[in-house]
Symmetry: C2
Subunit: 380 residues, 2 copies
């Protein structure tokens, strides 16, 4: 059976990228690597829309989140973070692990934080040094308006805006410099279309000031070491070389398409899947849904396990279920990275057949029709 991956990380790896990674390995302290790494770093700056350094770490996205926390803070400082899902919650866990006084702004999982909520939190905690956001909350499929929130944060001179862009970079519009964001983090197995194992942190000059005075212990994730090595087109420790060669190929694809066109494609696929979902009589969990993935509520009349098994066993589709309190209640379909219109048609069709298989009543074909109409209305 043909296998189709619709999880919001890992995401499908383009065939050309897989072949590139199968080439014999090169050494990371030799000129051919420097050339490749220089090109990769420049293209990452384009994807992040920043003129500042984008540092490469060999770790998962969580490692890059920790790298930000242990580099910008000293123990005892205060920071505000938004908990609107599992990954927002993680900011709080990491901050507390480093002795930072972590002030939680809690939003219902599936909702998105409003700029006014951040405004209030900063008024109540005037000593806060940073605000931690999740651009696209992978656990709920909700998007955060980081542009507007960054504006609110920027009114305070000494507060950093830090964005988990793990399922957002390369999918949702993000203009780091123009929007005044200080740190953006992402992982490789998301919009960048390569396997997991690399993570990235983009850092503003304001953030470097904090990093240079931080008193948290760190070594492997010391961003000062990464910056120093970057000066000679290198990394301080042996990087995941084969993933970097794959990334070079994947970034070339993104650059050829154009980052704004990549964002537009994600919007087009997301819009169609959302239309289809509604046409099938299903509900979307997020109020402000992300263009990276769609979390669909599973109707109470349906056995969620049976539904997932049908998708997997009958049509080879791997999707993601819910995490924590959302387990068994949602299915998350990714349109993050290497997807096109007909991939969406395929997954919508499989969903229709699985719904039928689970005895759910709806007008067969309504989802596909809605998606087609959406595509025709928003053709590039």
């Amino acid at each position: 059976m043909k296998k189709r991956l619709f999880t919001p990380g890992p995401t499908p790896v383009p065939e050309s990228v897989m072949l590139r990674m199968a080439e014999p390995i090169i050494h990371h302290r030799h000129p051919e690597f420097s050339e490749l790494f220089t090109r990769v770093c420049e293209n990452l700056q384009y994807v992040f829309q920043t003129a500042h350094e984008v540092l490469t770490l060999t770790s998962s996205g969580t490692g890059a989140m920790e790298a930000v926390v242990c580099n910008v803070h000293s123990p005892g400082e205060t920071a505000v973070y938004v908990n609107g899902g599992k990954f927002g919650e993680r900011w709080g866990e990491i901050l507390r692990a480093y002795g930072v006084n972590a002030v939680e702004v809690r939003v219902e999982w599936g909702d998105s934080v409003l700029p006014g909520q951040i405004q209030s939190a900063l008024e109540q905690h005037p000593n806060a040094r940073a605000v931690y956001l999740t651009h696209s909350e992978t656990s709920t499929g909700a998007a955060t308006d980081v542009k507007e929130i960054a504006k609110v944060v920027r009114e305070r001179k000494d507060v950093l805006t830090i964005v988990d862009g793990i399922t957002a970079v390369g999918a949702l519009e993000l203009r780091m410099d123009e929007w005044g964001i200080d740190c953006v983090v992402t992982g490789s197995q998301k919009g960048l279309m390569i396997p997991p194992g690399l993570a990235f942190v983009a850092v503003s000059p304001r953030a470097w000031e904090s990093i240079n005075s931080s008193r948290c212990p760190r070594y492997y994730f010391d961003l000062r070491a990464a910056r120093k090595a970057l000066g000679s087109n290198d990394t301080p420790w042996t990087p995941a070389i084969s993933l970097l060669t794959g990334l070079d190929a994947a970034l070339a694809m993104i650059c050829r398409e154009g980052i704004e066109q990549v964002w537009a494609r994600h919007a087009r696929l997301a819009t169609a899947l959302r239309s289809a979902t509604k046409a099938l009589g299903l509900q979307i969990l997020a109020k402000e849904p992300s263009n990276a993935l769609t979390a669909i509520r599973i109707p109470e009349s349906i056995d969620s396990k049976k539904f997932s098994t049908f998708l997997k066993k009958t049509y080879g589709i791997t999707a993601a279920g819910g995490q924590g309190a959302l387990a068994g209640k949602i299915i998350r379909i990714s349109h993050l990275g290497y997807y096109d219109e007909l991939d969406m048609i395929a997954v919508i069709s499989a969903i229709e057949m699985a719904l039928t298989g689970c005895g759910f009543a709806f007008e067969r074909g309504a989802g596909i029709r809605a998606a087609q109409e959406s595509f025709l209305r928003h053709s590039p």
Copy 2:
């Protein structure tokens, strides 16, 4: 030109492993991954010769070194480490980054620490909680007798023996449990024959006692989280999935050959290269040379840059130079991982031709003859 990699990490990746990694990516929270990961962990236990947990991290070997330090210690504790090269020195840097009082046992770079030196250090610092060793010092090609040193350390009930096995695991005889070692660390791009990006920490029950009471801040490298996830055949954060599929293939090769046969092959290749080196009138840096790599002193009459360039440009051979104070003074030739007898013949022949090209006087063919004699004497 055909390219040949003779660096002690990254090491050549077998063709079958490269092809395996080029397969479509699978999701890490699904049964097919659990199956693979279970098999990988069991085979790692065999390679480390341990019945205890071997934890998988997505990082370089340095990340795994830090994971040990920040998990077994609390700030203010004392630990002894051996500085006999760049990687021994790194133990000291990491220990100090976490506020550990790091007592250095300094040996000349190229020499190996003696059990008596560790004995003295422990007598002088009876409050030391751990001894940090480097089994095969990659910067000098020197091997440490960890078996004898572990015996000395074990005489003290509360002192842990911690071994950097980064260029040793899968190359030098290592019997973690039998020798009473508490933590062994390695990286993926060495004896395990896959690209960089994964690292491993094997942990004894004694070490877990320290880990459970440590007060160092940690999150991504928290070994308690890795152990908990291992209980359900999983990792706490998204692992480098494609590297794990490659590792599965590479470990199958090691298991087919047998770990003792793998150690014997490394000994055979190292012995032949050392014979050849001496026959050419060259000197080996290390007094107790490692079977993973050979660091050869470049004669003073030779321009080291010209020598390396000849190897690279004329014969496509990438070898490693010296680091730090050894820059320009040595060349390091790896026989770590996916190498056989004729690979050694190839590199020795290239060295002979490069020596001639650099005007060095020696009996042409003497190196090859010595290697052949060594192989014939030690045939498996």
